[in-house]
Symmetry: C2
């Protein structure tokens, strides 16, 4: 099936929203394909939108950001690196301890034990303040290591994992065995290995090594972990509530993430789009149509069709090609590209290969024949309206002649910076009302704004320099077109967020999830020791 299969899950009475890591991992994989052939940006005439209200942003600079111009981090922490090398056996066991503790949020399996494992590990490492933080759902974990330093880093963690079908796994998902993978090396195979316990515990290994080697940390650390990421982080805002002022005093937020390709490439993404996800429903009522149940189809002559009503309501929102939104003001609030973002786009446009992306997606052409910079701009700055699903009436084989009483669609709208999810939904509501679809119900299922960090922020600069030391940052994108609720960090706490890092893993939300621990000779991706050393460097680079 598709690249984005997501199963529905519930916790308590909440319907799940988005999962941060899903979007990031899957879109990261796709984005990796962006590197490839070189195609000159073409000036394609945008016929279908000539009279449309979609803004046409211009790139007004020829400057291009090149991450290679940021010198590799050159701090020397040999003593700590050597401690990390000596402790590799213990460090691997730490990962295995976390991975052997199931913590399936959707099924409430092992959640409390895992939360306590996180808390007690923080305490053992030397965090002076640790606590389990109750929420409306699964508890969070807070930890504070006050080094009396000038700078503070907020570490976002998730301690929950996806469910498993053990029979699909080559190695039992909660045994965390070390397995040889041809062409890659030794990998740790377990649910949560890469999403997200592996890199998170690796960071704590690094932190412990710094403390043990030097007696303290070069920066202060705050950890705020949740146990509901795989449920769409419904209560993370609540966790932030508890510590908002302290969290906002940090200098940046970091989400430990294995984002190297097997060959070692790192593509950085400095933001995500927001989203508003809603259901539209038409049902017979006072306006007409069958109110209680389907009726015989021959009555269409006298009875309105809720299905056609939904179809017309949806159709009224877009141009006939489905690609331009006709809702009044829907494009108005898009924040234009900043000069910084233009430079980033000029940078990535040099290697942009639309044909490679289309091959991966199995798509023959992009809308309006977009290529090159035009495609990048549309992808990053367009607000979209997409029907994720629609259903009504008889959907089996053959003939059944009914006039259904109910029709429903799932719709998502991806929101570039500047567009608020509730305002977007209000515009949809107004549009429907103004077009005579007052009775079409909207049900919001999820919504949050975009998140954006600046490449100029000290944390991002430090990250690029560190990544350039251990690997090579090939591209820095202003954002992913996918969505994750990172606005909690970037917009609410006003912190730059880095959610890329050394390390390679795969199989998130799938069988045989793994994290690379010991790469084969010649493999470009970092192993556990190198990852941990890069984390050490990141702490010091941020401290500078």
């Amino acid at each position: 099936m598709g690249t984005c299969a997501r199963s529905r899950r519930r916790i308590g009475r909440r319907t799940i929203g988005m999962s941060m890591t899903t979007a990031v991992i899957l879109l990261g994989l796709l984005a990796g394909l962006l590197l490839g052939g070189c195609e000159a940006p073409a000036a394609i005439a945008d016929e279908t939108t000539a009279t449309a209200p979609r803004p046409q942003f211009e790139i007004t600079t020829s400057d291009a950001f090149d991450p290679a111009t940021l010198a590799a981090y050159d701090g020397d922490h040999t003593e700590i690196y050597e401690l990390i090398d000596r402790r590799q056996g213990e460090h691997l066991e730490n990962l295995q301890r976390w991975l052997r503790q199931p913590s399936i949020s959707a099924q409430d399996v092992g959640i409390d034990d895992m939360a306590e494992l996180v808390r007690s590990d923080l305490e053992a490492i030397g965090f002076s303040e640790t606590q389990i933080v109750p929420t409306s759902g699964h508890p969070g974990v807070f930890g504070h290591y006050d080094a009396g330093a000038e700078k503070t880093l907020l570490v976002y963690m998730m301690y929950d994992v996806q469910p498993v079908n053990p029979e699909d796994w080559a190695s039992p998902p909660f045994e965390a065995r070390l397995i040889e993978r041809p062409l890659l090396g030794k990998v740790l195979m377990a649910r949560g290995a890469t999403n997200q316990k592996g890199p998170q515990r690796a960071l704590l290994n690094a932190v412990a090594a710094v403390i043990d080697a030097t007696g303290t940390l070069p920066i202060n650390l705050m950890v705020l972990a949740e146990g509901e990421e795989e449920l769409g982080s419904p209560n993370y805002p609540e966790l932030v509530d508890h510590f908002e002022e302290r969290l906002a005093s940090a200098d940046g937020a970091f989400f430990p993430f294995n984002s190297q390709s097997p060959s070692g490439r790192i593509q950085m993404n400095l933001g995500v789009k927001g989203i508003v996800y809603f259901e539209m429903e038409a049902r017979g009522g006072d306006w007409g149509g069958p109110k209680m149940a389907e009726i015989h189809g021959s009555y269409k002559s006298l009875v309105d069709s809720p299905t056609l009503r939904l179809v017309q309501a949806i159709a009224s929102m877009t141009s006939p090609d489905g690609n331009t939104i006709l809702i009044d003001g829907y494009y108005d609030d898009i924040r234009p590209p900043t000069e910084e973002e233009m430079r980033l786009i000029n940078g990535v446009a040099q290697n942009y290969d639309g044909a490679a992306i289309r091959r991966l997606l199995r798509v023959e052409r992009f809308v309006d024949g977009l290529e090159g910079t035009d495609a990048i701009m549309r992808h990053l700055y367009d607000v979209t309206l997409n029907v994720d699903g629609i259903w009504s009436g008889y959907t089996g084989e053959g003939v059944k002649t009914i006039l259904p009483h109910l029709a429903t669609a799932k719709v998502d709208s991806r929101l570039p910076p500047g567009i608020d999810p509730d305002e977007a939904l209000a515009r949809v509501r107004s549009h429907l009302d103004e077009h005579g679809f007052e009775d079409v119900v909207l049900r919001k299922l999820s919504g949050y704004p975009a998140a954006q960090s600046s490449v100029e922020s000290p944390l991002v600069q430090a990250a690029i320099r560190v990544f350039n030391k251990w690997g090579k940052v090939e591209e820095v994108w202003p954002r992913l077109a996918g969505s994750a609720p990172f606005y909690q960090f970037t917009e609410r706490l006003n912190l730059p967020l880095v959610f890329n890092g050394l390390g390679h893993g795969s199989g998130a939300h799938a069988p045989n999830e793994y994290m690379l621990i010991e790469p084969e000779r010649g493999s470009g991706a970092a192993g556990l020791a190198e990852i941990e050393k890069s984390y050490v460097d990141l702490l010091y680079a941020l401290a500078e």
Copy 2:
């Protein structure tokens, strides 16, 4: 559930089409509700269609057809009636013999045995020519009784029945027990009791009684029975092929039907609408969109949506209210009401109760606020476009963000006389092509034109007179708005068709199907003996 639940079934490689009796039975039940309060036809302004191409037919006569003006049939066949009365035990056993032989076409249960039972019964009664007629599906049965008479009646029969869930039945569905029903009388409960073995075998009882009492029949009889009615009669045209010239020489066609309400009312319908039923499908292809599988929803910015394409294609075919078809020429070929039909409509309009129909359908208002004659005219002469079902993408609970590669809808169009199903579908195709939806696939699942008999035809006149003798024909409608492939008789063979009759039954396609055999004192519907006597009268009335 709705009033028109139909399950999908296949036979051989054919997908099923429509079932004659389903439409007739269910719509007959609804139509029965038309009798009730008296409401003056209102001249409602038809705002939404003011500029639409829908023709506005005028009733240009004030004459109203009143079936009561046709004198009850007064032929006296006492000798035959008495034979029928004496033979009631044997006649009931004949019905039971047929009902105890399962003949479930969808499951190929008992089909060949039932076909032979029909054939051998015809032979035993005295039909000189009887044969099992192979088809591409289940066999047909042909029988000819040549009385050397001037007139010939073609009897349409179906010997197959719907499947059963025995656990849902108060009495085993193939035991055909006689059961006492409060307020009604003794009923025969079995699958097929009323749909359609009961009335059909009752007709043969009557025929046998006439032959035994008089040595012959007053008219010639041809029987052409099929075993696939519940599959949509896919091979009935093939059966007609075999005997077309002989069948066309008949003076009318008769479908034995229990169409009395429990109180004894008979509403006659002289025709049905045709139908074309098709699927519309949009799928990613050379035009754009994902070709092979769903992709991540964030790619809507660059990738066309087949789902929106289908929605836009459907929306382009109707006015925003979904009630006027915008396909070029789609209304052009509707045959205007004949003067005869106007008189019939004037007749039924006097008792038309739109509010009662709306209560039954659970509908608050009819389209355009139609009432009275306007509603009747729209119902009988409108060509409709109705979405029976639509589906695409994720239809489960909660959030899943995908851009689906495939979207499908089931659409039916009810066709008043004058509109050919294939021409209608060709207009849909042209419309889609002209509006840029060349890639939207149309798959025809079923299609046939309307059927219409004249109230002036000798067979219909004879039927009304006979029904007026044994009961009372309250209303004669030009047609049902539902569909059945009766065009085989009316249009292809050019025969008037009567598909109403004395007798009451219920539960077609449902558990506890029954036919009333011995009404309680005071019950208005006919019992088996009266039904058989009315059939005797019909043969003689047609002979006159």
